[in-house]
């Protein structure tokens, strides 16, 4: 990953074309800055974590990357497309998963996957669903309504939906939120294997420090809508003189590094 310092420094020119390129991005809601001038880029094949407390601007940033939210100012380029204006050039090559965004609850698992396979233009709908069902252990669930599933089962189905189009870029908002440790670990292991197998780029927002340490090549620490620190997890831990990323997060969140508290901002998360 190639990341820049917030606001003032220009985006470092990467060797390869970035999958995500964000320059001087702002989003305000009723005068409150949910995202306050962030810049970063993500190179192909990297896993980058957006880390920050509630209201830090993670979900707002992801929404702008997905074309669900129009920036107040600044540019967002995803897979070469300006978001949200050119989103249709990028959306077919990316996908999204979040425990806060459901699938239709009355539809059976296979019905949900079939609908989304058609939306993404999957060539062999049945074959692709069978492949993912096998991969994610959904065979026993396929005839059950999505709304009847447990949180862990829903996460697996949502993951299958987000892999239907074999995305080059996956955006994941707290992929293991509200999962028990075993299921959470299963999801993390799957994402690791998927990335190794495909070389897909992953951007995830998370509150789970252990998850970020395990999965992310690089971390963007967000607070009050800004990127307050960045680097590989090991770099951040060393730089802050701590032993875990959680300690680094708490230092930043509590302002021990001269950084503002992350709470109390407007925005979507």
């Amino acid at each position: 990953m190639s990341v820049t310092a917030p606001v003032t420094a220009p985006v470092t020119a990467p060797v390869t074309v970035p999958v995500i390129e964000v320059v001087d991005l702002y989003k305000s809601f009723n005068g409150v800055h949910a995202v306050d001038g962030i810049s970063f880029s993500v190179a192909p094949g990297q896993t980058v974590a957006l880390l920050g407390g509630n209201g830090a601007g993670k979900t707002t940033t992801i929404s702008m990357l997905l074309g669900l939210l129009t920036p107040t100012r600044g540019t967002v380029r995803v897979l070469g497309a300006d978001m949200p204006e050119e989103r249709h050039n990028a959306l077919g090559q990316m996908n999204f998963s979040s425990p806060y965004v459901d699938l239709p609850r009355r539809l059976k698992v296979w019905e949900n996957l079939t609908v989304y396979a058609h939306l993404y233009g999957v060539r062999d709908v049945k074959g692709r669903i069978a492949e993912l069902s096998e991969d994610l252990g959904l065979a026993d669930l396929k005839n059950r309504p999505f709304g009847d599933l447990s949180a862990g089962q829903k996460t697996r189905v949502a993951l299958a939906k987000s892999l239907l189009n074999a995305p080059k870029l996956m955006l994941m908002d707290e992929p293991t939120a509200s999962l028990d440790p075993d299921t959470g670990d299963w999801v993390r292991s799957y994402l690791e294997r998927y990335r190794e197998r495909t070389g897909a780029t992953i951007l995830l927002a998370s509150h789970n420090m252990a998850e970020v340490e395990r999965l992310a090549d690089s971390v963007l620490m967000m607070g009050a809508g800004r990127i307050v620190d960045e680097g590989a997890p090991s770099e951040l831990i060393a730089r802050h003189g701590r032993t875990t990323l959680e300690q680094v997060f708490l230092d930043i969140a509590r302002g021990k590094d001269g950084v503002e508290n992350t709470h109390g901002q407007g925005g979507m998360a």
Binding site: K27, F29, P44, G45, T59, T60, S63, L66, G67, L68, L69, T70, P84, H88, N89, L91, G92, M94, N95, F96, S98, Y100, V101, D102, L103, P104, R105, R106, L107, K108, E111, T114, V115, Y116, H118, L119, Y120, G121, V122, R123, R128, K161, N165, A166, P167, K168, R197, T198, G199, A200, T201, M268
Partner: protein, 278 residues
């Protein structure tokens, strides 16, 4: 590194994809197919309306010469009003259903285009309306000896105009619900009833005060019901009313589509697409 990602999993994406329209329809058809209470509910209210109005009409037929002559008009009006009402719900309810199930964001991070969603909702409206009014139309035959299908080609014209106008109202309501959230969901039912008095369903436009006649004649529904009375009373198809209805529908459907796309744009600015849900 992304050379490992299979490139041929999906077909190339088109500007407008009938397949994506069908995918949205499929999502709602799956729900309908399995839920007999929903299917029953679709047909239930039009049939109840038909039974009530049918027997009221039958009673007055023996006491009023005018009603005796107008029996088919009243029964047909009941049926065509339900076309308008159901067409409105046929668009707005599937849209609300996406919000109830917190599925809107998933849809709009897929390649689905706003225009494809509109086309899918109108197509679903057609299917739901046919399911709704067909049993009531069939009921009118043995019970009241009113053969609505005898209207022939004009019936197709009336049905189409009311379907389109009902969809226009549904699109407007969907846009308002997107903007103001599920708290505004009762607009699905309220909006169309606001237009009922000026749609001249059970009485001619001339029965309205002069200033309301102007309002009525600016609606495709009033022209359609006037046309229906023309066929049933005089046996003539009023081409002027037909062309007015078609013209107004074209203008209103275009305006509704522009309005909905504007609401989608506003939703993207205000961050409403991520926040919808029960």
């Amino acid at each position: 590194m992304d050379g490992h990602i299979p490139e041929d999993v999906c077909v190339p994406h088109k500007a407008f994809s009938p397949r994506r329209v069908l995918a949205i329809m499929l999502r709602h058809l799956y729900v309908l197919r399995r839920s007999w209470p929903r299917l029953l509910e679709l047909a239930y209210w039009p049939m109840v309306q038909m039974i009530l109005w049918g027997f009221v009409t039958k009673f007055f037929m023996g006491h009023s010469t005018w009603v005796a002559e107008a029996a088919a008009v009243l029964i047909s009006a009941v049926l065509l009003w339900d076309v308008l009402f159901r067409a409105n719900l046929g668009v707005s309810l599937p849209f609300i259903e996406e919000m109830w199930s917190r599925n809107l964001a998933q849809l709009f991070v897929s390649p689905l285009r706003d225009s494809e969603l509109i086309v899918a909702l109108i197509s679903m409206s057609l299917i739901r309306t046919v399911i709704s009014v067909t049993p009531a139309a069939l009921l009118a035959m043995p019970f009241y000896d009113v053969w609505v299908f005898e209207l022939g080609i004009p019936l197709v014209a009336f049905f189409t105009n009311l379907l389109v106008f009902g969809s226009v109202i549904g699109i407007l309501v969907a846009g308002l619900i997107l903007r103001f959230g599920l708290g505004a969901e009762s607009l699905c039912w309220l909006g169309i009833f606001l237009l009922a008095p000026v749609s001249a369903i059970y009485y001619p436009v001339s029965a309205l005060p002069n200033w309301l006649q102007v309002v009525a004649l600016s609606l495709p529904s009033a022209h359609t019901f006037e046309g229906m009375r023309g066929v049933l009373f005089e046996g003539t198809f009023a081409w002027d009313h037909f062309f007015w209805a078609v013209g107004l529908n074209v203008v209103m459907l275009s305006a509704a589509a522009v309005y909905f796309l504007h609401m989608m744009k506003m939703a993207r600015i205000k961050g409403l697409l991520m926040q919808q849900g029960e």
